[in-house]
Symmetry: none
Subunit: 89 residues, 4 copies
DNA sequence: GTGGTCTAGACCACT
DNA sequence: GTGGTCTAGACCACG
């Protein structure tokens, strides 16, 4: 988690870079299916970005079908994710 | 009771949605005047929301003059309620 | 936990019997020092007594120096309990 | 700020005790008119209470006319407060 | 065995 | 990086 370094020099949103970083972690099994991601505040702290950026990143993960967010509960890794392919459920 | 489905997508508080749902039940006669509502814990279970949300919903019903809450006894439907109109007592 | 059977025939408060039962569990190591006891509601369910009785029983445990209650957090087994002897901290 | 110690033994809500404590600070000039109070999260940390309790305490301060809360901005001490007397604006 | 208060901490909307 | 709402569940006071 601590080796995420946003690159401000390239024209790619930090949120997208963060989403890609988290996608890689999920793909690598750092977050198992069914596991809960750290809270938005904790992710913001650990990635060194603002909480708004984290929210945009998790929104991207939802659109990629990688996670599901339960209000006031947390964001959870979906069970049948295919990183380069289809959609969960 | 079991067909209440809170809608998290719209900017209306869940507590307000629950209060409206209970108001409709009272209006329809599902709870007669003088009847006791289910306990807050049971309402929370049946509506699928937290007990804090139920407490805010019953607070709204009190402000609408639909019910009266007796601590340690329960929450009771008022006698002379008029849903779209006046106030009890 | 499930083998507690209050004896209504003898002139000993059920709460005291429950306190003695819990004291034995702590003494036997069923609840380790620092561990949290089950919630009052759960204890009431498991022991088959009312929640008020459980509250009186835990009050007795506090007076015996066996546990410490943190409001809204739970009741915890003290660290240096001596069942037949002194007081914790 | 750090000498606030909630008293759980007396039947006065912790939120009310916290509100009284903050009222005294405002009265003593520790927070000047127009000043921003610490964030609710920081207050919760410093007072040793939960954020929900802090929110109820600031609600009380609003009802007392001592502060004004701007969502997403903070809570500010009103200009013309008279602790034992009138109301701001 | 109810309603009441409090804790801890989540996500959300907005600046 | 704030205030706002919600969750889940604890103990408390009372009947």
């Amino acid at each position: 988690m601590s080796d995420f370094v946003p690159n401000w020099q390239i024209p790619v949103y930090i949120a997208t870079q963060a989403a890609d970083y988290l996608t890689a972690l999920i793909s690598d099994g750092a977050f198992s299916p069914g596991a809960r991601l750290p809270s938005e505040r904790q992710l913001a702290d650990e990635l060194g970005v603002s909480i708004g950026t984290v929210r945009r990143a998790t929104q991207i993960l939802r659109e990629r079908g990688l996670v599901k967010t339960l209000p006031s509960r947390g964001t959870y890794v979906n069970e049948h994710v295919r990183i380069g392919g289809g959609r969960d459920e």
